[in-house]
Amino acid sequence: MTEPLLSVEDLRVHFHTDAGVVKAVDGVSWSVAPGETLGIVGESGSGKSVSALAVMGLVPVPPARYESGRILFKGRDLIAADEKERRAIRGKEISMIFQDPLTALNPVFRVGHQIAEVIQAHEKIGRIPARAKAVELLGEVGIPNPRQRAREYPHQFSGGMRQRAMIAMALALDPLVLLADEPTTALDVTVQAQIMDLLIRLQADRGTAIVLITHDLGLVAGHADRVLVMYAGKVAELGTIDDVYYRPRHPYTLGLLNSLARMDQRRTDRLRPIIGQPPSLIRVPPGCAFHPRCPFATDVCRRDVPALEPKDGPDHLAACHHADQVELQQSPAAS
């Protein structure tokens, strides 16, 4: 692995609400290298989006508070940086695309204008050349007839087209890092594949590091180099796709894989869902947060929070007291 470009270290983002403290991100570390794709997976409410929003500086403070941690980008700690410095990075060096392209574009401005706007926000460039660049970008992300399309409004675009426009906007200034928060969730399956292919192609051209946040394990398997599994605001497991998918060392990862229909394996038994519900982030269970749903749970799990430690190799980390017992029922060799 090359030197990380962006690294999040021991990040804790807690939301102070009337109902209590929501520990959305509670001691999370990850990093991404140039040209690499890191997948972050987890259920809704596992805190997977919040660490990305923290990188962007888009977590509302208050109610949120940074309890600890650093976000290092090109040697600078973004949490300590002032708003002006962060704004210079947002959209230029680190950009983000969001889940729902229907609502992520402003309905009252032309698509071309919205793309040109990000260019003009960061570069000394006139309105006309910025517009020309926007048209060019729309063409690059595969929108036919980009000159005319640039003059249209978001509601005149289909869902897939809008996400393409979002990607054009995010990649307008060749950012080093692209944070993609559920980029394909709101789209239908064939469009999903097109959007992912587009992202991968643009990444190959530009060497962009991508952080792909999703609940879709299949998407991560197909497109990411490494994967981070989050549960209740903490890292459950982190490793290469092969490590995590074929040799999971956390019962939660195992549960996710067992509940997934896989095309690369013959299934002999039924899919097994994970029993129970993810915990409320206000009242996280003591010890290992996963223990109420875990078939391996013992007294130590109810008492002590497991440390995130190397398993099998230095780059495969899991936070489980019983990592040794976790075994994928069907290893790829057995099928």
């Binding site: 704004r87 947002r90 969001f98 402003n106 309905p107 706007e117 990000v118 926000a121 509601h155």
Partner: protein, 309 residues
């Protein structure tokens, strides 16, 4: 778009027609003799003079015939003659409309400027001291009747501080300040509240997060991306409130002795000078319909999703 405007203008004719029937009937069911009233107290008219005046104003005809005659003259732009002024209503309106228009424009400018700014500040700094201040002051402005606000302003700024003229228009430009504030007060408050609500909602929208993610400054995000989206409900309200503004002018002009059509209308109602009442209200309805047409057309410019058909 052209088609739309034409259709709306034709609708306006229907609205005016309907309004004229209702107004006409309403005025004639009011008991009392307008001719006697117009003579002032203590004057008795002999039968012959009374009949002559009645003939002159078509009051001797049966009601349907009077109405047909009225509409016929209305179509020619003739609103009839005032009983008490003995002059054409159109002339009287023309003399006074300028003063009312000045007041209305000043009030709308205040509504837009103060209401929208207060609403934006309250939404952006939600639950802050400023927000609480906006909420409290708007509650007062909405709760207290217009004439009380007017009297209170007169008391403070004219009677006690001597900063501004008490009433009338003799003092020039300064004399419009208090009446304009009085007339606008309720609407400033309502616009501020609407703006606060709309803006707070828009600020939570995904595209606002996108705008921040692009690295735009807070000022651009709020004054461009959020404002453009949250101004639409406010604009609708401003259009509708225009009718209320004409009603408010009645009270405000009375309190400040402002020589506009509101004051003329109050006098006309008291003296049963029906041609003036009918003329002024018909005029008001026409202005209201045109203003709302302008508001509806401006939607299409503010929100491209709205197509006028």
């Amino acid at each position: 778009m052209g088609k739309y405007v034409v259709r709306r203008l034709l609708q306006m004719v229907l609205v005016l027609f309907g309004a004229s029937i209702i107004l006409f009937l309403a005025l004639f069911v009011i008991p009392g003799d307008p001719i006697a009233t117009s003579q002032g107290e203590g004057h008795q008219l002999d039968k012959a003079s009374h009949d002559a005046i009645a003939r002159r104003y078509h009051l001797d005809q049966p009601l349907p015939q009077q109405y047909v005659g009225y509409v016929g003259r209305l179509l020619k732009g003739d609103l009839g003659e005032s009983y008490s002024y003995r002059r054409p209503v159109t002339t009287i309106i023309r003399e006074k409309i300028g003063n009312t228009a000045k007041l209305a424009v000043a009030a709308i400018v205040l509504e837009i400027a103060l209401g929208i700014i207060a609403g934006i500040i309250a939404a952006v700094f939600r639950y802050s001291f400023l927000d609480v201040l906006v909420t409290l002051s708007t509650t007062v402005a909405i709760g207290v009747p217009t004439f009380v606000i007017g009297l209170a302003l007169q008391n403070v700024f004219a009677v006690n501080l001597h900063w501004l003229p008490l009433q009338g228009q003799q003092a020039g430009r300064e004399s419009i300040i208090l009446p304009a504030i009085t007339l606008a007060a309720v609407n400033i408050a309502l616009v501020a509240r609407l703006m606060r609500g709309a803006m707070s909602e828009v600020l939570r929208a995904d595209y606002i997060r996108t705008a921040y993610a692009k690295g735009l400054s807070k000022r651009v995000v709020i004054m461009k991306h959020a404002l453009r989206n949250s101004i639409i409900p406010v604009l609708t309200y401003l259009g509708i409130s225009f009718g209320a503004l004409l009603g408010g002018a009645l009270i405000t002009e009375t309190v400040f002795n402002w020589n506009g059509i509101g004051l003329a209308l109050v006098g006309a109602i008291q003296q049963q000078d029906n041609p003036i009442v009918l003329g002024v209200v018909t005029y008001g309805v026409a202005v209201f319909v045109v203003v709302n047409l302008i508001v509806d057309i401006s939607y299409a410019f503010l929100d491209p999703r709205i197509r006028l058909e």
